[in-house]
Symmetry: D2
């Protein structure tokens, strides 16, 4: 019986495994084991125990239900796990968890889980960016309407539009790398962070555990690591999701039947239970819904920072939900995004049709600048062209026809100059160099991530 859609509906199994209770318990035992090794290596506990304990835990499995059952009595999940391990491994567990506090384990496990989860997310994000880069190249020169305020502004190309998404998402990739250095860290410092239990050998213990886990430690901690790392993590993931939502809205809008320049490629799925003709951008709509939820997780993650003194427990219950939910949501969003990108439908003929819809008014800036070149002030030219456009719209005429009938304009421009000013394909500026600059930047960031 389940109720959270992340259990069965959203998120990949790869990500689900990372935050599964089974994996968390496995990682907790791993951290206890590394600590045991460190205790021995640093000369805090006698030789031999570690190996015995290591053998023991290598041969057993602890199921979540066992921990639950023990926790009901003991009221503390780490204590419950320790108690089970002690029962199972007997004398070998004599120095288990020696000098440590629960959050040495919990926070270090978070570090490990977040490393794996961020690895998965970065991989999927790089895939998305690569897909977008491919589409950018493919449609580099495909002219279409550039839209501001939902209105026609100036012509662009589809590749140029997509390159903007390449840029935006690459910035997120940078952010993921930045936050990783602050959040993928471990902690082994005892009940209030002083390492008091290890008789002055705390730095040795920390160093061995971190070496074994290939993690950097925090410079200093209280009982817990500072929560600003998680706050930043959830923030930058919500930012990434919102960028993808922006793309989803792009598709949803451009898939409207009146526009139909792009569309979600749909398979055999049924659009509506009652309207047999419907083909809906349901994947992109899902992205919007899940992103909304993700944004809602940011503020609680930031609130978690404000812990009392050397810590209170209020972050604990919150994070049990916030961290896995954040990763499962972005995971589903990225998978959906990649699916949408891989199946994106493009309708060049509708792009042309829509470009012509304004009967040339979309080229008004071009005309205005030409008039400015020829002697009008830019400000006057704006007024003149505005009147011409209004005239064209009111009469339902092509702008060029109105312009060529306007002696005031022809004083400044020849017929050929007017034609050139109103030619879409000649008013795309430096789109090509800008695309190239962007792709180069993306390549560099991606390369630096992979290394």
């Amino acid at each position: 019986m389940s109720l959270c859609p992340l259990e069965f509906r959203y998120g990949s199994n790869d990500m689900r495994v990372i935050f599964s209770r089974e994996n968390i318990i496995k990682k907790m035992i791993e951290v206890e084991l590394r600590l045991y090794k460190a205790l021995e290596e640093c000369g805090i506990v006698p030789k031999g125990y570690y190996e015995a304990f290591s053998k023991c835990v290598g041969s057993i499995t602890v199921r979540p239900e066992e921990v639950d059952k023990r926790e009901e009595v003991l009221g503390h999940d780490v204590v419950a796990l320790l108690s089970i391990l002690t029962d199972r491994c007997g004398d070998a567990s004599r120095f288990l968890h020696y000098g440590a506090t629960s959050n040495d384990v919990i926070d270090t496990v978070w570090g490990l889980l977040v490393r794996d989860a961020l690895g998965l997310i970065k991989k999927k994000l790089v895939s998305s960016i690569r897909l977008l880069m491919r589409l950018t190249r493919e449609y580099k020169d495909l002219i279409m309407v550039g839209r501001t305020h939902g209105q026609h502004a100036l012509p662009i190309t589809l590749g140029f539009k997509l390159a903007n998404y390449v840029y935006e998402l690459t910035r997120s990739l940078e952010r993921l790398v930045d936050v990783e250095s602050r959040v993928v860290r471990g902690k082994m410092a005892g009940a209030v962070g002083t390492m008091a239990g290890w008789r002055g050998k705390g730095l040795c213990v920390e160093s061995v555990v971190m070496r074994e886990l290939n993690l950097r430690p925090h410079e200093i901690t209280t009982q817990v690591v500072p929560r600003d790392g998680f706050a930043e993590l959830v923030s930058v993931i919500a930012i990434l999701a919102s960028q993808i939502e922006r793309f989803g809205v792009e598709v949803r809008e451009l898939m409207r039947p009146e526009i139909l320049e792009l569309a979600e490629g749909v398979g055999g799925r049924v659009g509506s239970s009652t309207m047999p003709h419907k083909a809906n951008p349901v994947e992109c709509e899902k992205i919007s819904g899940l992103t909304r939820v993700l944004r809602g997780l940011v503020v609680p993650a930031i609130e978690d920072i404000v812990l009392w003194h050397e810590r209170d427990l209020s972050n604990s219950s919150a994070e049990r939900l916030l961290i896995p939910h954040t990763f499962m949501l972005i995971d589903e969003i990225l998978d959906t995004f990649n699916e949408v990108l891989s199946n994106l439908k493009v309708y060049p003929e509708n792009m042309i049709k829509n470009l012509k819809l304004s009967k040339g008014a979309i080229m008004s800036e071009s005309l205005m600048l030409k008039l400015t070149d020829k002697g009008l002030s830019r400000y006057e030219a704006h007024r003149v062209v505005r009147e011409l456009v209004t005239k064209a719209l009111r009469s339902g005429s092509e702008l060029i026809d109105v312009v060529l009938n306007e002696p005031e304009v022809l004083k400044y421009l020849s017929v050929d100059e007017v034609r050139e000013a109103l030619d879409y394909s000649k008013y795309l500026g430096n789109y090509n160099e800008l695309i190239e600059r962007t792709l180069k930047y993306a390549e560099e960031v991606i390369k630096s991530v992979s290394t």
Copy 2:
């Protein structure tokens, strides 16, 4: 394998059952059945089909996994369910879902689930209020420090403190009743809300379905019911949780060893994995953590209002998570609150000790007003008393000793008057009437809810 703590850790089973996939499917079938009945009763479909279909669905069970499997092919969960029912019930399902759209079912099911869930929440909230009322009466006259800014202000009684929580929570009970009238409603109006599929008999269909389910319909809808109801629901539940958090913070603070006036009653649980002496207010801390998450659900719930035209789908994925999570979280918070209230420890001796801590300074207002009565302006009296208090604090003396050595004061007040002015038990104002007024108000609201 599970990762959401609402599946196994937080929330009661009663609530979990309400939002379980099994129950949702059951309710969806129930709504389809009521619709079938309405179609027959309103004369839209021939007699006989409803009974056959009713018999058929009475004899079968549809498991979530079946729906999932079918949805993988069809891409739509309601269509998947209809397809399963059609396969199972054959010709009897000929008019199944006739004229309806998926959200006639989905939104009406939400109405039913929210009714059940709100019922549970209201019941638990009434229990909490009753527990608080009992404690208010029990400790009506137990004097303790009233604190503002964390500093000692004036004496109050524990009952007076608790009565404030009675008041605050009763206001939430009112809000739950208010929102219920707007959110526990059904919808049976077809693909865009016009009831087009039922040949002019839509109001009859709606009326029969709602009668059968004992729900009020919305006055008008698009494809979906307006989402402001959910937004209000999540808001008022987050407000309720925050009020309970306020109580939790009260306990956490008053349980500090330096204060120790109240404490969570703990059973045999272990406070810390490494500090054997620890007894921590973990229940109240959990309330803080979960409330934080709940507050984060408010903004996405409000964002869901902004659907395009006759609806877009972005609310759907969000609500699958937001609604069950909201109820599971408040359910856990209320259960925990009731647990804390039932086991609350009270330390009257520490209350007295703390009351005396300021050596009488806590009575400074009383002294100031007495001086005002006797001729000083309130403003001058404030200055005079401030100086006396500062003197007492600096010298570590009891305020009364300083005052009785101050000729300036003795010009206005006799020794007995000073003693009376500094007597805690005589400076509790109308606490008694205020408590009674509050309990009466709470009784009335509770009574009106039960009816």
Copy 3:
């Protein structure tokens, strides 16, 4: 020099005056005056002082800058004001503020300001609803495309679309009334809420002050009134704003040049600094931006509930910003909304054009149900019609032509029946009754508010 756009750009002057510092000081003095009267009337202070003080404050003005200057020394704004009044009114102010705490004044002033502000908002909201009702009636029968997922679903009428907004906004009007009863209240209860300073006559003091201000008191308070009222207030206002944003998005979308069914009526304003042809839905876009900010104020308003013990001060600085900003933002949003409604442009010819865009596919449900009536199961009919629609879309034909060439369909339906099934104007269901039901409901709520 100013930086907050609410000072000079957004919000009406009527609202700005309510939350101006000048008005706040005026109201604070008013509350002090009422308290003085109550002290006399209840026999706590000698007769005569009140009248003298009343005369004095009637003859003076306290400017914000004076209070600021005094506050710099004293560190407390209410104390600063009291000090100024005492300086100015001399002995008459001897009993000024007697037995009261700053928040008796501050919270009661909030009650007064919120009453005025809510009054203004309710008035503007009723205007919006009335405008919408008028438009609903005017365009009751104007057929247009109903859209779900941004795709064509079924025909509706513009009046039907607008009636949904009537309904949604009327629900917000109900909410404003509900919250008003909880938030427009006063407090006169002293430093910790016990009324200790008034020698047992606290209830008399409270009663006189509230009578004079025509306010209901809270049943009980700490030093401050409970903050759930403000939290509810900001929530319901953010919900209202989001409903209006939904309308704004409706206009922004339907104003796209490819659709152009509705448009913001623009005056002489310039759409773009560089594109002379642009006419942008800038008013509706502004609504989206400001609503976004408003939603962000909800969570802090809810957090303010969690005050320590008998209060801490953290709500104070937050509310200084949250409450005026909330009201100024909704004020601007409502004014803009009313402006948009008053100047809304409607393009019936484009509605027809768009309705025909799908070549009849929009009527697929109707055809499916007809086939179900004639013997197919609804489920089979869905599949059959889906195939026909796909065929029509692929071949670019009108659906009716495809259908009339399909012997499979003609087995069940005559040509006339097909024609009727595909006639837009005959598939509007009970839109008329639903509109009437909605208008009636709105009228009743509005009436109950005015009374």
Copy 4:
């Protein structure tokens, strides 16, 4: 008349000037001027105009009220400013704004303002960190209670506590540097980002403008720069504020009269209008209130990312409020924090008193580990010590007395060993090295920022 507390109450004048309307207009003119220069340098417009225009604007001032007045007619603030400049500078303004769009100016101005504002914030944050570092060194060895869950955990030193804040805030300093590289950038790319208006010389124009302003351009843009930069900015500032709030809560808690280990140093300010004895942590409480508001600005800032196509306007109104408010709030928070740090009162005698409050129970971990060393398993030792502590607490005895009377323990430990195990000063672990490691880290980050 003003209502926003950022106008007169919160935030420094330095910051207020940056976001003042006067400064914004000044910067807009500056950007227009740089563009003019670029147009000439790149050979797009004839020589001479730039100099004439430069001279003209150097000799005039444009007041916000003028722009407002003009905007009322024209409906667009940048157009209004251009119109004023054109009126004033006549023919010299012929090529003013040539090829540019409003957001070339607006977004580049944001870049300039944010650079100045971030500079101020970084400077203040570095001051805070340096103050904290000085206090850390000063109190490096001052032993006090380490608290988890509000309960006594283990001894720490005040310096160790403060070093944790040094660490946390230094992480924020890193974040400010990271975000700066993404948000302090300019844009000069025309109406849809293609640079279409500059006849293929767009990259030259961009390059000159950016060189003149010493800004990096974005790699590519739509009409506007991507909004993820602002979203990240507001997020990391809210994180910083929450870290400072954590310190504020530390002080508020430790200033409770029952604890009184730290206190806000207060000057002559009056604590309460009615309780002459009150000294309240009002500065730290203000930090909590303002931080709450700041957190509320995060979600709208993230929502602003989701703009339609080449931009819609919804970000504009939101940002007019969000960006200045974010900076004014963090500015006030940092100033207050520095004030609190500079005047922090420390009560070593109370630290000792509180340390002894638990009668040795705070040393239970130490005892447990010693027992583990001597032969008990850590798990058994936990149970044994837990019983001893419970016994001591129940009987009100010092833990050492109970332990020394327990033969079971004395089997393992000598009396001296028990004494050593329960000695606070010998159980501080590696606090010294950890502090040094942290200070070194902070020094390095600060140095890298200054460079």
